[in-house]
Symmetry: C2
Subunit: 150 residues, 2 copies
DNA sequence: GCATCGTCTGATCAGTTGTTCATACGTGGA
DNA sequence: TCCACGTATGAACAACTGATCAGACGATGC
């Protein structure tokens, strides 16, 4: 099955440009259309980086805390997230590097806040829906007091 | 970290309920407020699972392809995402388990589509903003000048 | 029936990631 | 000044994850 397998090229014949490495393609038009609008690799990786940062329960609790409180210091973030202060510091380092949070120092305290409206929207959207969709993914849990995010 | 460290309980004295394990807390009111509205651990982990699924470039390209095409078979997904067909299959397995995609078989083909409006919104929101915000994330960090926002 | 195709799956391996421990930095108070 | 505090950092470790390879399954065509 090499490349000569044109048995289902009923749609278009301009395959060579798309079929870069012997991959079989069924619906060539659709594949071409998708490729045309596919974000650049850099954009995809950027977005993936953001989602990854949101994809760890500890960081997610940190960010949720900041979403609710507006501003918190490291030790309070440790208290609200249940992480050790060291873990919080390490996590905040990553979030800082991605410009997701910003820090402002007062005295020997460091106060963090969300610094990215984009992430705030993703967070808010995610939190809202997750609470409506309990019992879906893997949560056999009984009822929970469904907070209203306002 | 002695347990008797109540040195800064200047705001309220009802610490015992919050301070479960010798953690220092600065703004107890705010911490209590955040804890009150913090989603349940199960909800947090559910949401984190979703974000993790979106947080890998390969899967993100798969999902973007489905968002654009509506429906694609495995080999076409391999073509649009640049992954091997085996990797696609493994990835789709995870996405299926999380009810993010659904599959419909016709003959020996398997056609996948997005099956979660929640995820579709997150995807769409993410993709929209990422394309406006290129040149941001991957920036090599200008020295880390702790910008005092605004 | 047999061979081929598209897809799925398990095992293995390498790379990544979060946590912990120990320590270092800068600040503020005695 | 010295010490306690809040935070930041590096190293080491365990756990997880994605890619690859090999093989299996069901469906189709001869």
């Amino acid at each position: 099955m090499g490349t000569g397998d044109a048995s289902r090229s009923e749609k278009s014949a301009a395959v060579s440009a798309l079929d870069t490495c012997g991959e079989r393609v069924v619906d060539q038009e659709r594949v071409a259309a998708v490729r045309a609008v596919m974000p650049s690799p850099a954009d995809v990786e950027d977005l993936a980086r953001v989602f990854v940062l949101l994809g760890e329960p500890g960081r997610l609790r940190l960010l949720t805390s900041l979403l609710e409180a507006g501003e918190l210091c490291v030790c309070d973030l440790a208290a609200t997230s249940g992480l050790s202060e060291s873990s919080v510091s390490h996590a905040l380092r990553l979030l800082r590097a991605a410009r997701v949070v910003s820090v402002q120092r007062r005295g020997r305290m460091a106060y963090y806040r969300l610094d990215d409206g984009h992430v705030r929207m993703l967070l808010d959207l995610g939190l809202t829906h997750t609470q409506h969709t309990s019992t879906l993914t893997t949560a056999p849990e009984p009822g929970r007091p469904e907070r209203t995010t306002s």
